[in-house]
Symmetry: C2
Subunit: 303 residues, 2 copies
């Protein structure tokens, strides 16, 4: 972990693609590819999409028709397009996709593609939410990949997805595999009826918990969230106002850069992987973990 | 956990005692008792001291003479005085003490005293730091109590101490025992030579990680830190500038109240334990923990 990335440099430019989604998957994929090109033009070496960028956030309802949005990995068009683009531009890509694994078996899956265009691996979202307008348990089988880290050309990275962000366990297990950067593609927003009363606290909790993963693990965290107010025609109602505000946190959890709440943005942030080693040495939390006393973390409740 | 405290109310007033330390342990104990009385006068029902309030932060050096500061629990004067005061005022008290358990065996220990003056239990600091001017591994054997929660007259509480604050594992294991409030007596500050460059990030990390425990567990967090610039005569140098800023975070991690960086303060904060149940129901993180996939949290590193 102390070694620089195989590129030989410790400075790395991240690209976070914060965008909206139209009803047309092909259009969303095309726009995503264009935005990734824009990030690459700006020097980004590791680029990450928001969660399920290829479609509106369909989990607002339980509708069997939406399973039609899923793709096979790596055979589907999105993975293939991302692999081709990674190779063309020589960049690492993390893409969040709706995976059809088999008939009746679907996952919320991230693909991790190295800068030569090869598929390094996948991560299947481990923690699946289910709340009003976020009916994910209907669509996604909880992941069976476990938590993972990958050595890419530009750094050792981990990927977790949205609801995972609330679980320090996932961040820790990824960091313990040496991850220097944790990527969180997400799709979170306000219920318009709650925004006035709870909006500030909800967003604050979201930002705080992810910054805390950087603190606890002495690593970088990049959260990539969608923007736009999405009301599904088949659902109606007030929909979800996705709150954007994608950000990168430094190794002490400090905000290094943050996008707006409502605009499409390509956020380019240079980080220095040498800070990971330095932070973990000066604030040596890994040294003192009481692994002899953590066994009950695998219990549902201690009662 | 859904039941109100045995008092029958869900509103509870917390008292956080943020103070300095003089070289005289008797004086520090007397001042602490007076400040607790002041908190009780203001209606506080659960009061917590900063870490090792009875003395300056002696861990700035490794000096056998300082073992003389330790006391037996419950026989020592501090525990006895706190028990008497808890009974007199009908309040719950959490006190952070230097425990002499036996010859050559010392702990950094919190006493948890119920409102009838009885000693509910103790917590021995599990994670022990060791860094320049924070030579705690010399003094304190890592705790063997494990992480705990106690039902007091005014709520179910957990207590962790200082360096524990950096470990989401400790907060989680305490919350999984139903704790509604996590108390963190601490003694943390700036090395004056680092303050200009790193001070903001260091304090930000400290506040962020503790607020995140409230987020992850849908509970309240109270951090009680000392103030004052302490230079030990036998050590000299620039000493440590304890940064105060004791605070209470709500169940979404939001700051409810925060003390100054340099003044003695008795912070009184009313909270509502019903919010714990409400938050955990609406943001049901406990529901979805992947306990089948957390086994490696008991590993030192996953390599």
């Amino acid at each position: 972990m102390t070694a620089p990335a195989p590129s030989g440099k410790t400075q790395v430019k991240l690209g976070l693609i914060q965008t909206h989604a139209s009803p047309d998957p092909a259009e969303n994929l095309a726009r995503q590819l264009a935005l990734i090109e824009k990030a690459a033009d700006a020097g980004a070496q590791i680029v990450c999409t928001q969660e399920l960028f290829r479609s509106p956030y369909f989990c607002q309802s339980e509708d069997h028709a939406f399973f039609g949005l899923a793709e096979e990995i790596p055979g589907g068009p999105s993975t293939q397009a991302l692999m081709a683009l990674a190779k063309k531009r020589g960049i690492v890509l993390v893409g969040s996709l709706f995976e059809k694994r088999s008939a009746g078996l679907y996952h919320n899956t991230a693909v991790i593609i190295d800068a030569d265009g090869s598929l390094l691996g996948i991560y299947r979202k481990m923690h699946i939410p289910d709340d009003p307008l976020f009916y994910e348990k209907f669509y996604f089988t909880p992941g069976d990949t476990g938590f993972r880290a990958w050595q890419t050309r530009y750094g050792r990275i981990g990927v977790l997805v949205c609801w995972d962000q609330w679980y320090p366990e996932g961040a820790r297990l990824t960091a313990l595999q040496g991850a220097q950067i944790l990527f969180y593609p997400t799709a979170i927003g306000w219920h318009p009826s709650e925004k006035a009363e709870h909006g500030v606290n909800q967003h604050g909790a979201w930002e705080t918990i992810q910054r805390s993963h950087a603190v606890a693990n002495g690593c970088y965290v990049a959260a990539i969230n969608r923007v736009g107010h999405e009301i599904l025609p088949s659902v109606g109602g007030a929909g979800i106002e996705f709150w954007g505000q994608s950000f990168v946190a430094g190794t002490s959890g400090q905000l290094l850069a943050k996008a707006s709440a409502d605009k499409e943005e390509v956020l380019i942030v240079e980080i220095d992987l040498a800070k990971v080693d330095e932070t973990r040495t000066h604030w040596p939390f890994f040294r003192d973990r009481r692994i002899d006393a953590y066994g009950d973390l695998t219990r549902r409740f201690i009662d």
